[in-house]
């Protein structure tokens, strides 16, 4: 492998056994299989273990602030729609600190793929609860266990009009790869929430736990039906994996901009006529 993979081995700061390694492998294969050109792909990420992903892929990246991966991704795509843009981060990053960007960007429908590594914990900061932590999860802060209702990102995305909503588990490699590929191909905002075990800080939602508490949607599932999707998303007894919903594509954020209605040239390639500006002062 090359292309999105490095020539030489790299030092990866994740813990041995962490689900992030699988996700990395899968992600690289997905990008290769789509035959994308690394120079035309950009990752935007926040801060966290998950958010270190772009460091470990041979690709353009903007590794910004905790919680702010989405707004950066949205504007990158807007000024240059020829780029494939992926926003990637952890559950704390994307649903906690970044919660407001999550909800409002689903509404905005930017043509980006949103990959969230959901380990139900804050990994990098050593084990506090995340918005997706399940009840009774004990941590150094939540000493008597989590009491807040877990955040349901898929259901929220559906309600706010997302047209591509999927969930996977890092160990389901083929499925995950397929979902990522489809998400990238889908026009508009697409969410891929990926469960993965945090071997260092989450001793409850382990590899075995995910195995036991998830199942893959089969052929008979109709992912074009929003009602079905909502039901699946709301079911937190057993978590469905796969594309929960793939609706009709809507115009993407940048397509709605006046600047792209008349012409498709990326903003970065357009030249401003200064004479026109001078005329404003006549």
């Amino acid at each position: 492998m090359k292309n999105f993979e490095f020539e030489n081995p790299i030092d990866i700061a994740w813990c041995p056994g962490c689900g992030n390694f699988s996700i990395r492998e899968i992600l690289i294969s997905a990008l290769q299989e789509l035959e994308l050109d690394p120079t035309k792909v950009v990752f935007s990420s926040g801060i966290g273990q998950a958010a270190k992903m772009p460091q470990y892929i041979n690709v353009n990246y903007f590794n910004g602030l905790h919680g702010r991966g989405i707004p950066v991704a949205v504007s990158i795509k807007a000024v240059n729609p020829e780029l494939t843009v992926i926003a990637e981060g952890g559950d704390g990053d994307m649903y906690g600190e970044g919660g407001n960007h999550f909800i409002h960007n689903v509404r905005r429908n930017p043509d980006i793929t949103h990959i969230v590594h959901n380990n139900m914990v804050y990994g990098l900061t050593k084990g506090q609860a995340s918005p997706t932590s399940r009840k009774d999860f004990v941590t150094p802060i939540q000493i008597n266990g989590v009491v807040n209702e877990p955040f349901n990102p898929l259901a929220v995305a559906l309600i706010l009009g997302a047209t591509f909503v999927a969930r996977s588990f890092s160990d389901e490699k083929d499925l995950t790869k397929e979902l990522i590929k489809q998400a990238i191909l889908h026009k508009g905002y697409s969410l891929v929430d990926i469960f993965h075990p945090c071997v260092s800080f989450n001793k409850i939602n382990t590899f075995a736990w995910y195995k036991k508490n998830t199942y893959t949607l089969d052929e008979s599932y109709d992912s074009s039906n929003l009602q079905n999707a909502m039901e699946k998303a709301m079911d937190t007894e057993k978590f469905a994996l796969g594309i929960l919903y793939k609706g009709k594509e809507k115009p993407a954020f940048h397509e709605n901009q006046a600047a792209y209605k008349k012409e498709k040239t990326p903003m970065v390639d357009r030249v401003r006529a200064l004479e026109k500006v001078n005329r404003l002062m006549e």
Binding site: N58, Y61, R272
Partner: protein, 564 residues
């Protein structure tokens, strides 16, 4: 004959003072020098708002406290203005709009203006303001034909009837105002037509367009919102991506994403919104991603006085962001500055890969005045980015501190940008030596930036003994003070690039007897900066923090006090 006339309209929010302002400013500008400024409450209807329009035969730039002609638009319009009335004032309004005893106290004149009747006569309740426009046009002896044309242009998109009604209303007002022309006559200006009438907001907007701005993301906040509105209006003609962000944090991060990908973005806000952007400013500093931030100051702390003016966020702008990194701060004083400094902000952000803050305030943004019709410099439009080669290193350790900036998708290299400390390639590093290398590379830009320093403007005699220092919107009142001053040994230095400051600025202060800083804040933030960075001892500070701009009379009084 007086040299200038100060006309004030006092009414409620919602009574359309902005329409009056627009009509009078546009129609008077070809013949007179004009300046207008408003005092507006943070509400949509009711309360008390005032509009001051000054008309003169020579250049004027400032708020004047004393009123020559006052139009009262309702029965509580007088209350806040009593201080500004003198025996020279003529007050116009319905009989029941004033308490005659109060007016007598000041020996002012009251002249009944039966607006209700005139409106009835005009036959359409919505043309009241046009009658007032006509009235003023009558006093100023403007060409009625031109005024009627202006009304046609303004209203033709509504209906023909509305145009006719307005013209009619204008004529009624013109006839009523005529008799006052004699007592308020002022000389016409011989060069007024050289200028364009606009406010600071539009100036900054034109500057942004001239700087190649093709992206704006902002969250509404007075007085910053108008720039967002201006660029939104320009979207179609100038190809700008315009987005109202969900919050200010999104706004600045979107601007950074836009620059990273090769766009030229700006965000606009006021102090409160800027406070939310501080982490983003630090991100710009660390990743060396350019950005332009327009901060329209208003009185704080917190929500403060949302529609009033202050200059108390200079310190915050200088120190915004955790950690240490260079930045540039511009503070336009005159409308030309609004255009030129904003244009330059984009260029320098790109060139030095730093955040650039354009620091204005409500008074600058919302006052209308006249500006030279500029021809802009094309050089500022050229992108400073490069086409990348394979193995491209975003943070190559260039001796200048400036690593050539590539953008994704343009060239064969990859553009890797990191908010953690990173190595030359943009990978996270925890190596202490690399940290020092990269940190010093960034910090080196602070002095380099000074090569493009925008010189201050010195107004007044060359052989001054006393030097007044100002920045931002105090430009107008200080220029007018100097130009009308009898003290021939006082000059005024207007600092336009307020940060960083170069050593050479010291030359202006050499051998001076006193240095007076004039600022719309309570501590003298510029005075502190001059002391800290340039060892310039400011001997006097004239400060105002009520939310109002300085008036010309107040400035004269305070400077006299200080120099006596």
């Amino acid at each position: 004959m007086r040299d200038s006339l100060t006309i004030v309209f006092s009414g409620e929010a919602g009574q359309g003072l902005q329409t009056i302002e627009d009509l009078i400013m546009k129609s008077a500008a070809p013949f007179y020098n004009v300046f207008s400024t408003s005092d507006v409450m943070s509400r949509i209807r009711g309360g008390n708002n005032t509009l001051e329009i000054r008309v003169s035969g020579k250049q004027i730039h400032a708020f004047k406290h004393g009123i020559d002609l006052l139009f009262l638009l309702n029965d509580h319009a007088y209350d806040r203005l009593h201080d500004r009335i003198s025996e020279k004032t003529v007050i116009l309004g319905e009989e029941n709009f004033v308490d005659l005893d109060k007016i007598k106290e000041k020996n002012a004149k009251f002249s009944v203006l039966k607006m209700k009747e005139l409106v009835k006569q005009a036959g359409n309740p919505i043309v009241a303001n046009t009658i007032l426009f006509g009235f003023v046009a009558g006093i100023l002896k403007l060409n009625p034909e031109e005024c009627r044309r202006l009304l046609t242009d303004k209203f033709k998109h509504l209906s023909e009837k509305i145009v006719t009604d307005n013209k009619n209303a204008f004529d009624i007002g013109f006839t009523e105002g005529g008799p006052f022309a004699f007592s308020f006559s002022i000389p016409k200006s011989d060069n007024a037509s050289r200028y364009k009438v606009l406010n600071g907001n539009t100036a900054v907007g034109i500057g942004a367009l001239a700087g190649g701005c093709n992206f704006i993301s902002a969250y509404p906040m007075s007085p910053g919102t108008s720039l967002l509105e201006y660029l939104a209006r320009m979207t179609e003609d100038f190809d700008i991506i315009v987005e109202q962000a969900e919050d200010e944090i999104a706004a600045i991060n979107m601007v950074l994403g836009a620059w990273y990908a090769g766009g030229r973005g700006i965000t606009t806000t006021s102090g409160g919104g800027f406070s939310l952007m501080i982490e983003g400013v630090s991100l710009s500093g660390m990743t060396e991603t350019p950005c332009v931030i327009h901060v329209g100051q208003r009185p704080g702390p917190a929500t403060g006085l949302p529609t009033r003016t202050e200059q108390a966020d200079l310190n915050l702008a200088i120190h915004a962001g955790h950690g240490e990194f260079p930045r540039i701060i511009f503070a336009p004083g005159k409308l030309e500055d609004g255009v030129l400094l904003t244009q330059k902000a984009f260029f320098l952000a790109d060139k030095y890969q730093v955040p650039v803050i354009v620091l204005t305030d409500q008074h600058f943004l919302e006052s209308y005045g006249q500006m030279e019709r500029l021809k802009l410099d094309k050089a500022y439009l050229t992108n400073q980015t490069i086409e990348t080669k394979p193995g491209y290193k975003r943070y190559a350790d260039d001796p200048t501190g400036i690593s050539p900036r590539g953008i994704p998708g343009h060239g064969e290299g990859l553009v890797k940008v990191d908010s953690d400390e990173h190595d030359e390639s943009g990978y996270i590093t925890e190596d202490y030596k690399m940290r020092i290398l990269m940190h010093e590379k960034r910090l080196r830009k602070k002095s380099l930036i000074l090569e493009d320093y925008t010189d201050p403007e010195l107004i007044g005699p060359k052989d001054y003994k006393h030097l007044i220092v100002g920045w931002g919107s105090t430009y107008g009142v200080l220029k007018e003070f100097i130009e009308s001053s009898l003290h021939k040994d006082i000059a005024f230095l207007h600092i336009k690039q307020v940060y960083p400051l170069p050593e050479k600025l010291k030359d202006y202060f050499a051998g001076v007897e006193s240095v007076i800083s004039v600022e719309n804040n309570s501590s003298g933030q510029m005075a502190d900066l001059l002391k800290l960075d340039l060892d310039i001892p400011v001997t006097h500070r004239i400060l105002k923090y009520s939310g109002e701009p300085f008036s010309i009379e107040e400035m004269e009084r305070k400077i006299k006090e200080v120099l006596k």
